[in-house]
């Protein structure tokens, strides 16, 4: 464990400082900047498109370049699970539960079969 966290209360103090100085200010700034934005205005449409593109970028990064345990699953399997999830989502009349659950089930099934073969 990092030395900064070893002392009980000191550890929470360090984490609090990181949260308050490095993380929350972006939310506060968004609150301040959003004051004059209207839900049907052009600026709003642009900001929303930026946020949507950003979330989508995070998806491809998590699938193509994952960290940790997911990296042990081959890229082709991750891709197949994502495409399969989209297909199930579409086939079930846009059910998020079936799409998300189905994608992960495909991933687990292929990995389980692979582990059995090798």
């Amino acid at each position: 464990m990092n030395a900064a966290l070893q002392d009980g209360y000191g550890g929470y103090l360090v984490l609090s400082a990181i949260v308050l100085l490095a993380h929350e200010p972006w939310r506060w700034l968004g609150f301040a900047l959003g004051r004059n934005i209207k839900a049907d205005g052009e600026v709003f449409l642009w900001v929303r498109a930026v946020a949507t593109a950003l979330v989508s970028g995070m998806v491809t990064k998590l699938v193509l370049l994952p960290a940790g345990t997911l990296a042990s699953v081959p890229l082709a399997v991750r891709g197949a699970a994502l495409v399969g999830g989209i297909a199930i989502y579409t086939a079930t009349r846009r059910s998020l539960a079936f799409g998300v659950g189905g994608g992960s089930a495909i991933l687990a099934l292929i990995e389980w079969l692979r582990a059995g073969v090798w």
């Binding site: 464990m1 990092n2 900064a4 966290l5 360090v14 984490l15 400082a17 990181i18 949260v19 490095a22 993380h23 972006w26 939310r27 506060w28 700034l29 968004g30 609150f31 900047l33 959003g34 934005i37 209207k38 839900a39 709003f44 449409l45 642009w46 900001v47 929303r48 498109a49 930026v50 946020a51 949507t52 593109a53 950003l54 979330v55 989508s56 970028g57 995070m58 998806v59 491809t60 990064k61 998590l62 699938v63 193509l64 960290a67 940790g68 345990t69 997911l70 994502l82 999830g85 989502y89 998020l96 799409g99 998300v100 994608g103 992960s104 089930a105 687990a108 990995e111 389980w112 582990a115």
Partner: protein, 250 residues
């Protein structure tokens, strides 16, 4: 004075919202805990709890980070960096880079959260709940609700999501290393699936679809030459092009 009493209900307004009061709106928001996004968040938080255990930090740290940050990418960053022995300044810098994405989300949710009634403080405190999951749910549900119910409903969503992520972290911490690797991978995979499918579910206009495709395609490309700001650049470029393309067709 309330315009909303005379204004016709939104065509997509859920049945419960007709004539509902604020506690009801809050309760319906809280019920997100039992819906797909709540369950997915709980399951992905299991992975975070596992990671905290792996970094030999405490159960308290896992729950504290979930409550105080309530944004999984930043939480993962803190634990991962501390585990690698990074300096606190480096940790703070990395966290700040992952948190910039909260800015456009917060800005774009403001028109729904800022009802004319309701205190400034309550509106300000609500931004703590803005992270991808609550942003997606807010975007999907708030526009169809009467204005006076939106803040209360968003508070319900926020409390539900924070409860899902902190309880998930705690359970993950306790179960860590007892879960088979394949199960862990399947749980971790739910995060990108949920992000993608729910963004698709919220997409209506052509602009949204272009943003999804461009943002998704640009992020890994930008990552190659500028890993620190990849998401921000992919979002700004992809979103701006989508906005302009959407404009030219309307």
């Amino acid at each position: 004075m309330s315009v909303d009493v005379i204004a016709a209900a939104h065509p997509d307004a859920p049945g419960w919202s007709l004539g509902a009061d604020k506690p009801t709106a809050f309760a319906h928001g809280l019920a997100v805990l039992l819906s797909t996004p709540g369950v997915v968040l709980f399951l992905t938080a299991l992975g975070f709890g596992t990671l905290v255990r792996d970094a030999s930090m405490t159960l308290g740290h896992a729950v504290f980070l979930s409550l105080a940050m309530y944004a999984l990418p930043a939480q993962v960053m803190v634990v991962d960096q501390l585990q690698r022995g990074a300096t606190l300044l480096a940790v703070a810098f990395a966290v700040t880079l992952t948190a910039v994405r909260l800015l456009p989300m917060t800005v774009s949710l403001q028109p729904y959260i800022r009802a004319r009634e309701g205190s400034r403080l309550a509106q300000f405190a609500a931004v703590h709940f803005i992270a991808i999951t609550a942003w997606i749910e807010g975007n999907r549900r708030l526009p169809a609700l009467p204005e006076r119910l939106r803040l209360a409903h968003f508070y319900g969503i926020g409390f539900g999501m924070v409860a899902a992520t902190s309880s998930g972290s705690a359970v993950g911490y306790v179960l860590a290393q007892r879960m088979p690797l394949i199960l862990q991978a399947a749980l971790l995979f739910m995060t990108p699936s949920y992000f993608l499918l729910s963004t698709m579910a919220a997409a209506g206009h052509r602009r949204d679809w272009i943003a999804i495709v461009l943002g998704g395609a640009l992020a890994p490309l930008v990552y190659v030459w500028m890993p620190a700001a990849d998401l921000l650049i992919a979002g700004l470029v992809g979103g701006s092009v989508a906005y302009l393309a959407g404009r030219s067709t309307t």
